[in-house]
């Protein structure tokens, strides 16, 4: 059983994701229901959001369904859209080592950008189990995403208030995690390298295509600077 203290900490940490995922999920659900005219579209909104938890993808599939994009293209586009996920696990290898198959599978399956940020930070209360904390965060985020997308498809444009700009909660979440990480000196140079790589990626590519070159660039930089950066890590 997960301690209620751990559960509560995970819930509070996941609240920004609640705001962001509901806003983004509802938008994706509205788009899906608006473009694909079939009575059971809410059901498919539920199925697609529950099986593949991925923001950009949820928007992309709308056109794919509408145009019946060839499956090979779907596979390639998904690969490019989400290839950054193939790097995230590197930061979590040690944390997830030696845990049961089902739990590990779920943690891997549910690893979004936001869940990754929270799991890397892992602000588990004293005496709590970090793994249970990660599981709870992942499950909360997963639930928010399904709720957002399904709700969007069900209710369409019947939103109670103007939520324009609420997706900044996600940016703010990343900023807060980054601020906490940069309290430790050893993380500052890597953070700067990541930011610089993203800026360079954006200069040479469009917003939609900037992440892959940015990740390649930062990885190459890390390998080149390994000796110096590792010295920094060891000195801490």
């Amino acid at each position: 059983m997960i301690k209620s203290k751990t559960l509560k900490a995970a819930f509070i940490a996941s609240l920004p994701v609640l705001m962001g995922y509901l806003a983004m999920g509802i938008a994706a659900g509205i788009l899906l229901a608006g473009k694909i005219d079939r009575p059971d579209i809410s059901f498919w909104a539920f199925i697609t959001s529950a099986t593949t938890i991925s923001g950009a993808l949820q928007f992309a599939i709308v056109d794919w369904i509408a145009q019946q994009t060839p499956i090979l293209d779907v596979i390639l586009l998904t690969l490019f859209l989400n290839i950054r996920y193939a790097m995230y696990g590197l930061s979590l290898l040690e944390r997830f080592r030696g845990i049961g198959f089902l739990k590990k599978s779920y943690l891997i399956w549910s690893l979004t950008d936001e869940t990754y940020a929270l799991e890397v930070e892992c602000k588990v209360p004293a005496g709590g189990n970090p793994l249970n904390y990660c599981l709870a965060v992942a499950a909360f985020d997963h639930l928010y995403w399904i709720t957002g997308v399904t709700l969007g498809a069900l209710t369409g444009r019947l939103l109670p208030f103007d939520n324009k700009g609420i997706d900044f909660a996600m940016t703010a979440l990343f900023l807060v995690v980054l601020t906490d990480q940069c309290r430790e000196r050893k993380n500052r140079t890597p953070a700067l390298i990541g930011a610089a790589a993203a800026v360079i990626g954006r200069i040479f590519f469009s917003v939609d295509n900037m992440l892959i070159p940015a990740m390649i660039l930062m990885t190459v930089t890390f390998i080149i600077l390994r000796r110096r950066l590792e010295k920094g890590i060891c000195n801490e």
Binding site: A13, L15, P16, T52, I61, W64, I65, Q68, I71, I75, T78, L79, N82, R84, Y85, A86, M87, G89, L90, S91, L93, E94, F96, R97, K104, I108, A117, V120, K123, N163, G165, F168, A169, T171, A172, L173, F174, L175, V176, L178, T179, D180, Q181, P190, L192, I193, G194, A195, A197, A198, V199, V207, L211, A214, M215, M218, T219, F222, R226, I233
Partner: protein, 114 residues
């Protein structure tokens, strides 16, 4: 089953398999039993601040994906709300407070001013 239903099912399976496969990739490669090579260990450590910094920049840029940079705020709402978020977080160290205040500032700016 209609042609479209079959398409949705196949597409859902494909996107899920590719996405989960990507997420599982490092675990399949280095996860079982033995320690992973030191270089991978090192990349994993430096990657998390770098990837999160990258996502911050990406979020800022995404705002202007479908709109003109200069006529829709020129980055001022993002800059102001980000400063509020980080400043408050350095001062109070309360993640939720920082995020809610930063988001509120942002919503007010984009809804009422820009």
């Amino acid at each position: 089953m209609s042609e479209q239903t079959i398409y949705i099912i196949i597409m859902a399976v494909a996107t899920c398999a590719v996405t989960v496969g990507l997420r599982a990739f490092p675990f399949l490669l280095f996860g079982s039993g033995k320690k992973c090579p030191p270089v991978i260990d090192y990349i994993g450590k430096v990657l998390s601040p770098a990837a999160i910094a990258m996502l911050v920049i990406y979020c800022w840029c995404s705002t202007y994906r479908n709109s003109d940079f200069l006529s829709s705020g020129a980055g001022i709402p993002e800059l102001a709300a980000s400063l509020v978020t980080v400043g408050l977080h350095l001062y109070k160290r309360n993640p939720l407070l920082s995020i809610i205040c930063g988001t509120a500032v942002y919503m007010i700016l984009v809804q009422k001013i820009f």
